[in-house]
């Protein structure tokens, strides 16, 4: 229990730091978003409007700590200000629409990576020197070193543009009405295949590689020899004795990479014009829409921290020693 509390406190601190960071960046930089907005309006904006903007975006006058408290309050009341590119739509509303798409991509690809990656990694370590062991880790390490935009662009070019197997953009066929109809759901899945494939190509190498190495280290332990000496079946030794222990470092190592998956979503969604948080962030970057940018960043940080917390809970379940 104390383990959970300790980790929880740690993530709480991390979130506070992220929020403070979010608060500080625009204030440390020369000029603020409102000035940029004012400049881009080329003097056609009355000063009162400017003032109103400033207040709305949280740039209240006053000492820094007053601004900071104000900012904290607005974050915890879930009020992140209006967007600039789709004024006056609140950022939070926009995020709520976009978030499920990205979570769907990230979630599905992670589940597939875990399942395939762990099986391949375990198998490779258990059959040392075989084809899987010699070829798979190297091949997927090679593929994983491709930058996400490049993977996405290549898949886009070959599978969507040249062979026309998959649609070129959007999260679903825009002619269909959203709803739980078979047609719509299958359209959503069809549109999600390529983005998910990109994420898998980028992420699966880490699972295979870490799992293989952890397994190899575990297989040298005495309790494996013991389990074999007891006459347990090969499969039982592999899954119940070796894999379960090997999983501990893998879960920790790979949970660190979720941030990477989320960052990958920015590029992948941009290439496939997929309506998630990543594309939103890209559009916000292009439009210099700072409130939206910061909200996206905060969203990604919170998601990554939550995922890390889940990984901790998973470790707790896998490793009885932590439960003391």
């Amino acid at each position: 229990m104390s383990f959970i509390l300790r980790r929880f406190a740690f993530y709480l601190v991390a979130i506070l730091i992220a929020i403070s960071f979010n608060f500080l960046i625009p204030r440390l930089m020369p000029g603020d978003p409102v000035d940029a907005l004012f400049a881009s309006a080329q003097g056609r904006m009355p000063l009162e409007t400017l003032q109103a903007y400033k207040e709305m975006l949280g740039f209240v006058d006053g000492p820094l700590w007053v601004q900071y408290l104000q900012y904290m309050k607005s974050i915890f009341t879930w009020d992140l200000g209006p967007t600039i590119m789709l004024f006056p739509l609140p950022v939070t509303e926009l995020l709520a629409v976009k978030l499920p798409w990205t979570l769907g991509l990230a979630g599905m690809s992670t589940v597939i990576c875990v399942m395939i990656g762990l099986v391949i990694g375990t198998f490779a370590a258990y059959n040392r020197g075989g084809f899987t062991d010699r070829f798979m880790p190297a091949f997927w390490a090679f593929m994983g070193a491709m930058p996400q935009p490049v993977t996405a662009l290549f898949l886009f070019f070959i599978l969507a543009l040249s062979w026309k197997w998959f649609p070129l953009s959007y999260g679903a066929n825009p002619d269909l009405d959203p709803g739980w109809t078979l047609e719509y759901v299958s359209s959503v899945l069809h549109h999600a295949v390529l983005p998910i494939l990109c994420m898998i190509i980028g992420g699966i190498g880490a699972w295979i590689f870490n799992m293989r190495n952890a397994m190899i280290n575990v297989l040298g332990e005495d309790y494996i020899t013991m389990a074999r000496a007891k006459g347990l079946s090969n499969r039982r030794v592999m899954t119940h004795y070796a894999a379960r222990n090997a999983l501990l470092p893998v879960v920790t190592a790979v949970s660190m990479q979720v941030g990477f998956v989320m960052a990958g979503a920015i590029f992948i969604e941009t290439v496939f014009n997929y309506p998630g948080v990543g594309l939103l962030l890209f559009k916000a970057l292009a439009a210099r829409d700072y409130p939206t940018m910061q909200a996206c960043f905060l969203m990604i940080v919170v998601f990554v921290l939550v995922f890390n917390f889940i990984a901790d809970l998973l470790n707790l379940w896998l490793d009885p020693r932590l439960r003391k």
Binding site: F10, Y11, V13, A14, I17, A18, I25, P26, M29, R128, G129, D133, R134, P137, A138, A141, F142, M143, G144, A145, M146, P147, Q148, P149, V150, T151, L153, F154, F156, F157, L161, G205, F209, R212, N213, I216, N217, G220, M256, V258, G259, F260, M262, A263, I266, F267, T270, L281, F282, L285, A286, Y290, M293, Q294, F297, I300, V301, V304, L305, N308
Partner: protein, 305 residues
């Protein structure tokens, strides 16, 4: 003496390790190609030499961009800056990671606590989104700034790995002996401990290189880099903003993309091989098969007897 030892090491490193051979070949040739870019490519990468979007031909090996510049020359010259960014970011990261990791692992106690809690917090932050936000607020950033931001923000994982390895080495007899002999702390760290961390440090540096290459390409692809400087990332950016694929000029996009992918892949293969030097248990190769065959032979003979 030294060179002899070095060659022996090289021979062991490359022996029946195709990943290491292919990786070194890719990395070395890419570095050479971009260093001698000026001599290999005759066209100036910034000059208009043909009509826009000419397909690859005998004259223009890899075609031309939309603004009629030579893609072949651009990819060689762009490689220079992309590789420079990757290597310098990796250098910065490695220095910080070694400093933090070794001091936390060697000194322990309060120092360890403070350094590691900082490291853990930096570690859970998603770095690439952070880079994107910082770059967005700074405005269009040049390669130097990109290298700096990447270098300063991505040392945490390396520091943690180096710390745990330092702690393992720290309690070995030869370190204790050095302490008893009264060697200074600085000497113990640099002469006794650091050489034992070489493979981990080098492996970490390569990993950062890959990451920096990807991060730079990503930032520039999103249009956060300085688009007037030719790098692999800005080439992708220009190709994407001219929708090269849609208009059929695939070479404009594929060439820089493939350059990044191949170089990153080469580094990844090398990195894997270095991992196997650090931990010979992880090694894969023909000798395991040989061993298996011998084992099967022995067992068959035993069964026959």
């Amino acid at each position: 003496m030294f060179s002899n030892k070095f060659f022996k090491f090289l021979r062991r490193f490359y022996k029946s390790n195709p990943a290491a051979i292919i990786g070194s070949f890719i990395v070395a040739s890419m570095i050479l190609l971009s260093v001698f870019a000026g001599a290999i490519a005759e066209n100036d990468p910034t000059k208009r030499v043909a009509r826009g979007h000419q397909p690859p031909s005998a004259e223009l090996l890899l075609g031309s961009t939309r603004s009629g510049k030579d893609v072949f020359s651009q990819v060689l010259h762009g490689g220079k800056i992309s590789l420079l960014v990757a290597f310098s970011a990796a250098a910065i990261t490695t220095v910080i990671a070694v400093a933090v990791g070794v001091s936390a692992g060697y000194f322990g106690g309060r120092v360890d606590e403070i350094l590691m809690s900082t490291t853990n917090i930096v570690l859970v932050f998603p770095q690439l989104p952070l880079l994107i936000i910082i770059a967005a607020f700074v405005g269009q950033v040049g390669p130097l700034v990109i290298a700096l931001i990447i270098g300063l923000s991505s040392w945490a994982w390396g520091a943690r790995v180096i710390r745990s390895q330092t702690m393992a080495v720290r309690n070995k007899e030869f370190v204790l002996a050095a302490e008893v002999m009264g060697e200074s702390k600085l000497r113990i760290i640099f002469v006794e401990i650091l050489p034992n961390l070489t493979s981990i440090v080098v492996g970490g540096a390569m990993g950062t290189c890959i990451y920096a290459l990807m991060a730079e390409a990503g930032l520039e692809f999103l249009g956060l880099g300085d688009p007037t400087i030719i790098t692999w990332g800005t080439m992708l950016f220009w190709a994407q903003s001219n929708s090269a694929f849609i208009v059929g000029a695939w070479w404009d996009m594929v060439v820089p993309g493939a350059a990044i992918a191949i170089f990153g892949g080469g580094l990844a293969l090398l990195n894997m091989s270095i991992d196997q030097v650090a931990n010979p248990k992880l090694k894969t190769g023909g000798y395991i098969k040989t061993w298996r065959r011998m084992k099967a032979d022995v067992e068959a003979r035993r069964a026959a007897a």
